[in-house]
């Protein structure tokens, strides 16, 4: 959206604002009594129609983004996720007052948020990371490709500053070979896992061992089946690939625009 006016920073005449954690369905008791968040401030909801923003007061003078703040934010969202649907709002989102929360955040997006919460209900996010065992796949690559093997043997006993072009070429070929391997492995892993999930969102990653980083949305009633399946899959691939599963966590990756197809 192109700016229609010149942006002008206005001076805020208060030191207090509202840190916004997420959006939930408006209902009595939805935010647990005694829940505290960033800066130790009590967490409460500000409602509008069917939805409510979960917020806590924050001192605008204070440096945010410290370890305790990040952990507090994620703990509030996980607590909310453990008792119902919650749509996380990006860390560090602060609005000035209750009027802003209602008029700028909730009212314009009321239907969107309500629909989002419907889709998230009864589901939880898991983050799955698959990594190659570096020494195994590099060994495979060197063995399989004669040109890689030749460059490897040519450069491995030379000092780092020698054979520069050959080493760049070697690295390029290895990177491509790993990428080809990655494409096949990712396809196989996703084919195995996605039938058990309601939605998925690929995350970016890089590095020699990087294979797959994906957020998975799993129906609560299929969670055991999902976890058992992954355990079996991890055992089946463990000689070449390591699987790491984090969660359940709040559905951070499933509140954007494109993941629902």
């Amino acid at each position: 959206m192109a700016p229609t006016t010149t942006e002008a920073d206005l001076v805020v005449d208060t030191d207090r604002g509202y840190f916004v954690y997420g959006v939930v369905a408006q209902a009595p008791g939805r935010v647990p009594e005694g829940l505290t968040g960033v800066g130790g401030a009590p967490v409460r909801s500000v409602g509008h129609g069917p939805v409510a923003a979960v917020v806590g007061e924050i001192d605008l003078q204070r440096t945010t983004g410290r370890r305790a703040d990040l952990v507090a934010y994620s703990e509030v969202l996980d607590e909310l996720a453990s008792t119902g649907a919650v749509a996380p709002v990006q860390f560090g989102s602060v609005l000035l007052d209750e009027q802003s929360i209602i008029e700028e955040l909730l009212a314009p997006n009321e239907q969107h948020f309500a629909g989002l919460l419907d889709q998230l209900a009864g589901r939880a996010q898991f983050n799955l990371r698959a990594s190659f065992h570096e020494h195994v796949v590099l060994g495979e690559v060197v063995t399989a490709d004669p040109e890689i093997r030749r460059l490897h043997e040519l450069t491995r006993d030379l000092p780092e500053e020698a054979a520069y072009a050959d080493r760049v070429r070697l690295g390029e070929l290895v990177a491509r070979a790993l990428e080809d391997k990655r494409v096949l492995e990712v396809e196989a892993l996703l084919d195995s896992i996605l039938p058990l999930t309601a939605a998925y969102s690929l995350r970016s990653g890089a590095g020699i061992e990087h294979l797959l980083d994906v957020a998975l949305l799993v129906d609560d009633e299929r969670r055991s089946e999902f976890e058992d399946h992954l355990e079996g899959l991890a055992e089946a691939v463990h000689e070449r690939i390591g699987l790491r599963l984090v969660g359940p966590v709040a559905p951070y990756d499933f509140v954007g625009g494109d993941t629902w197809g």
Partner: protein
């Protein structure tokens, strides 16, 4: 994390199920995620810009290729491993590999955030908000 405690490792143990308690885990989970509130109605906070570092790494660079070549040529440790047991070499490689990961930008972000940890001093805040109503 609260939710986490309900579900821990089970089965054969090949699947890693870490509890995301560390700062690095939390950053990884939340980085750049969540509903984005229009910048024009948000209040700027000190320190938040650290979290917006783009975690994506450009693969196709000479520097990256050289790291891949370096990793490949470390295979010599295994092939010509001398007297040490293989497992020990692999363990060492994985340690040094972790320290040289290509994903340096993410590590940089974590470090930057950690360095401000427990820093209670009050810095001059941006007492300004780029608050602006859309006049469309």
């Amino acid at each position: 994390m609260t939710v986490q405690q309900s579900s821990q490792r089970r089965g054969g143990g090949y699947l890693q199920r870490p509890a995301p308690s560390g700062l690095a885990d939390v950053i990884e989970i939340i980085l750049d995620k969540g509903i984005v509130i229009d910048a024009y109605v948000r209040v700027s906070l000190v320190g938040i810009e650290l979290l917006t570092i783009d975690a994506r790494i450009v693969i196709a660079s000479v520097d990256t290729y050289l790291r891949f070549a370096e990793a490949t040529n470390r295979l010599d440790l295994i092939e010509h491993g001398g007297g040490k047991p293989l497992d020990e070499f692999i363990g060492n490689m994985q340690e040094s590999g972790a320290a040289k990961k290509v994903g340096g930008a993410v590590k940089g972000a974590k470090k930057a955030i950690t360095s401000g940890d427990d820093d209670e001093e009050r810095r001059p805040a941006r007492k300004s908000s780029s608050r602006r109503r859309s006049e469309a």
